[in-house]
Symmetry: C2
Subunit: 641 residues, 2 copies
């Protein structure tokens, strides 16, 4: 079977809306922190930064420099996007926990956007308040549609959570205006945004409004990107700018160097890339577009076989906030922006729209549990922008960031995690992620309540109870993670032959389901060492430690010697230990290693006698939980012997 | 014996002038490249950059942006210093090899400086041509005296080489003016330069002119530095600047955070630090100043026990072009500016002025043969600014640099190496560095010709012939390098008991020397592995390879696998091999290692099965000679098992 035929044969799976899934357990705790702390913090920081003033047409137009936290901040052209994500985060939280004060504030922000919107539908606080008269003159650099995209996502979520349509209507009017201005028609500009985001947002807008025109607009942005004659060349010349005067003199930075169907390397700004591929995946599914799908397969292979950190982090360089060369994955200087790992979750989740495939779900899980959620402190109050895999003790979460894209991004992802856990199609339910939760899903023309009970990721035992409104035939697709060496499955107590029913990494149980049917899945969570491709020179002679979906790290606070002086012998066992009182409750890994401590070395900086080795106990904690205690060293890739 | 008493008991050793030493062998080849290529190149680049226009009072004053190599360069306030170093390099070369064309050009530059000099003696092309009216208003940042220092060094060298005094007279007039303007008197500014250099230059000027006033001015600059109330605070306030507005908000950057005698950490900009300590060492010797000497001992210990690369490179960070934290010595991102290693040679050489001590000579040799000379290509045409200890293939020598301090610095050091090889005192000769050469030295009231025949550093056999004008009693101090495990010495064929006559790492042979006396020293050049202090996390589990004074590295061109996939087993022997046709003639080291090549790994980026190991032949070349062939990877610290 060719790949294309394989694609065509699969059902389309759509994610449930956030309100369809009640999340408990590990992710429930993380969402509670977002609801209790992050959601309010995000709004507060935006307010402190002067963003309310920027969007309020009755307030004096702010200068470009705005007082903030005792200094001055530069007003940012992408602030509307931050409000969009703040609204989106608030929406998911309001749906879980009433917060009238926050809801009032969000309503106020939406009112201001309503007042700000131009009669023709245009909406951009930057171009209306800071740089008036310049709208649609610099699509390449100025985030005009990117901001709109985030406001759309906020509008969709807020409508789903509260039933309030005001922002949704605002954004529909704006998009109707966009569809007039941009396009391939005679009086239109064939433009698209330099920072992708609008594409996936329009897909959400189309789905929630049922309006195909928004889906078609998303498809236009995908199709037009990178075509010759190049829009950004023409735009630059029209504005008297030199088209060559762009980051590293290539449009790779914003993935418009080639038509998207011809791309096969993940390049440029990592977040932009992930958002583009997410939109492409949506469009591939919605239109059954195999050209897009094949390009995505190539890009996926490139990312996962050459350009991804073991934590699911991506984009090693601060210079372009993005990709560099194959196998260039330095650990201490890793940029690995939180938003990029969040974007990978988006992309992988959307690849699952084309049918269950554990390649995508495994990667979604990896990024989620490691490189993404590391961006948020356990108490929900502080944020990583960069997520290095090694620190000598100076890297800590911020209370805010000059470019505050990451805090609301990881917050909205966390708070909406339920919609990534499951997929629903006409005749199937897919469980992509395990976690204590209850989902109410649309399948086989009815509603099915699915109760998942588990201590995952700390324990691999998963009990599912299936409760259709009425007995119904459909397939339950259960992911068997790629990292799992041993899994057992039973349905109503009857053992199943997993090998026989597993395809693309999902066990498919097709039957007529009745209320009270139970499924039991046991995944062995082994402690394993991960070795890196020999071309990743930064990881040579080192191993990462993984248990189930979690990548572990060493922290200075748990280990009394310089972390790079440690060597983990090939035969050293690491033993899991439940520590409910540590870091919000984690399983740690402990074992015996060897260290070359500085204590018995002396004053020489260099010498011909190698340092003496001593046995030492080591303790590893999940990577996502690092930097939540005393500051100190951190190391993912441990030296091995 | 206390340290101070020990100091007082030692004779003062002065370096010979460059014309006193005829250099052959290894360094002779390097000097020939400077004479044949570098000296002319340096002048040419300065001319192309518009520097002649800047110093010519009859030319139109240049703008701050000047056309250069197809683009625009910013005129630099330190360009006079580059001319100073160009003149100094030319001087040493003219002394070795006549070059009438170059001499004519230098004479022209000196004529222009003569015309440019103000009637009161002031001289600065920046403050006279680019920022007129602002002289002596920003000693902290604007390199006014730093430039003067380099012009002085050029003047001294040019006078010694050609007998022409014009520039020397110009600089004496300028320094007479400086001594009026700056000082602690009632109508003087208690200022000193933000970039040290003038101190050591004034010592040279004092020695060549015999004028104590220049020595005293140097001492004033040393003494005043860092005193309270702080001169730079006052200067900034006077100019309406905030004194806090300085690099990292500390005067550590230019070593004026404390009076120099109270300093005990090497901090800030590495080149500035080295130049300051060099000047301090000169003044400590000239005035028998034990307070300075003790400070220098502390600083030396700090540098060599915590902050020095194994190549003798120093200053790991580009942010401050200097020092960071103890044991912070990253390899790939090492700044390790060529000028800083050159500065360490200056400092170490001047510490030897207080008497032979192999601690200093060993370090001088280390920096010279590795971190300094690496800055110049074998053909003398291209230059490193940074000298990393690891490269993935993208680091190459430049034809020039926007801040062109390093090219003429390594050139002038190389061309004047003879004066670092020997020391002369009233009753002794010290041989600090071995190398084929003939020196004519002043000792015991007469002249002694000393012929050194050796293939050093490739071979450790050294034959010395001593030829005094008339038989004379004095001590010949021969350095026994700290890296040497086995040395034998004979005088006129008679074996000597080295242990009995060696003190501070120098064998002292006191006798009445007559023409034709011969000394034979054999130093074993073993191949050794160097291990780094366990706190240097970048070198954990790795070893550097050294043979004699040379640190070796692996280059991609000699080794067919990714260099970090190589492991050098503990028992692997590396065998020296003479390769006269390679890299201008070097000894390479070859042996058996293990590699984990990517070839049999497959497509996975990460996996749980460790990579397979294969035996592989490796070949190491001297670090200084890297990047003179096909571009590729380079690695000093090789993984060990």
């Amino acid at each position: 079977m060719t790949l294309a035929a394989d694609i065509a044969s699969r059902a389309r799976f759509r994610p449930p809306a956030v309100p369809q899934v009640e999340v408990r357990g590990f992710w429930g705790g993380r969402i509670d922190a977002v609801c209790a702390r992050t959601a309010d913090t995000l709004y507060q920081r935006c307010e402190e930064a002067g963003m309310l003033q920027q969007i309020d047409p009755d307030a004096p137009a702010p200068g470009v420099k705005i007082p903030f936290h005792g200094g001055l901040v530069t007003a940012q052209m992408f602030w509307d996007s931050d409000f969009g994500k703040v609204i989106e985060t608030a929406a998911y939280c309001l749906q879980r926990t009433p917060n009238p004060e926050l809801e009032r504030k969000v309503d106020h922000v939406i009112d201001l956007y309503g007042k700000l919107q131009q009669p023709d539908g245009y909406l951009s606080s930057w171009y209306q308040r800071i740089q008036p008269g310049l709208r649609w003159t610099n699509l390449r650099d100025c985030h005009e549609l990117y901001c709109a995209g985030h406001l759309i996502e906020g509008a969709v979520a807020y409508c789903q959570a509260t039933g309030k349509r005001q922002l949704l209507d605002i954004m529909c009017r704006f998009m109707d205006h966009v569809a007039e201005v941009l396009g391939t028609g005679p009086d239109q500009k064939p433009g698209y945004c330099g920072h992708e985001e609008i594409e996936l947002a329009l897909v959400k807008l189309a789905r929630v409004t049922g309006q195909q025109k928004y889906m078609d607009l998303a498809r236009y942005f995908i199709d037009e990107r990178g075509r010759q004659p190049h829009f950004y060349d023409a735009e630059a010349r029209e504005q008297g700018r030199d088209p060559q005067d762009y980051i590293f003199k290539t449009y790779e930075y914003n993935q418009s160097h080639l038509p998207v169907r011809e791309q096969d390397k993940v390049v440029g700004h990592a977040v932009r890339a992930m958002y583009l591929y997410s939109g492409m995946a949506d469009i591939a599914m919605e239109y059954g577009d195999d050209g897009l799908r094949l390009a995505l397969e190539r890009l996926w292979r490139d990312l996962t076989s050459k350009r991804l950190y073991v934590t699911g982090g991506l984009g090693p360089s601060a210079d372009n906030e993005g990709f560099t060369a194959d196998y260039d994955l330095p650990n201490e200087s890793a940029y690995a922006e939180t938003c990029a790992a969040v974007g990978l979750v988006f992309w992988a989740g959307r690849m699952l729209g084309l049918g269950p495939d554990a390649r995508y779900a495994d990667m979604m899980e990896l990024a989620l549990y490691n490189g993404a959620i590391s961006g948020l402190s356990l108490d929900g109050a502080t944020f990583f922008y960069e997520n290095p895999l090694e620190s000598r003790g100076g890297h800590h979460r911020w209370t805010w960031h000059r470019c505050p894209c990451c805090p609301p991004n990881i917050a909205r992802l966390t708070a909406s995690i339920g919609s990534y856990m499951y997929g629903q199609s006409e005749d199937g339910i897919a469980v992509h992620l395990y976690g204590d939760s209850t989902a109410t899903l649309d399948v086989a023309g009815g509603r099915v309540r699915l109760v998942q009970e588990t201590r995952y990721p700390w324990d691999g035992a998963i009990a599912l109870t299936i409760e259709p409104e009425a007995p119904a035939s459909f397939t339950l697709h259960l992911r068997i993670p790629g990292w799992c060496r041993k899994a057992t499955l039973s349905v109503n107590g009857e053992p199943q032959d997993l090998a026989a029913i597993t395809r693309n990494g999902y066990a498919a149980i097709t039957r007529r389901w009745a209320a009270g049917d139970t499924v039991r899945l046991d995944l062995e969570l082994a402690v394993e060492r991960i070795h890196a491709h020999p071309e990743i020179r930064h990881d040579a002679g080192r191993a990462a430690i993984r248990r189930g979906p979690l990548v572990y790290c060493l922290e200075g606070v748990d280990n009394g010697v310089p972390l790079n002086s440690l060597v983990l012998p090939a035969d050293a066992r690491l033993t899991p230990r439940d520590e409910p009182a540590l870091l919000g409750g984690v399983v740690t890994l402990e074992g015996q290693a060897r260290a070359r401590p500085a204590s018995d070395w002396g004053d020489d900086l260099y010498r011909t006698v190698p340092p003496a080795e001593h046995p030492v106990r080591i303790k590893a904690v999940p990577y996502y939980a690092w930097d939540n205690r005393d500051p100190g060293e951190m190391l993912v890739w441990v030296r091995t012997a």
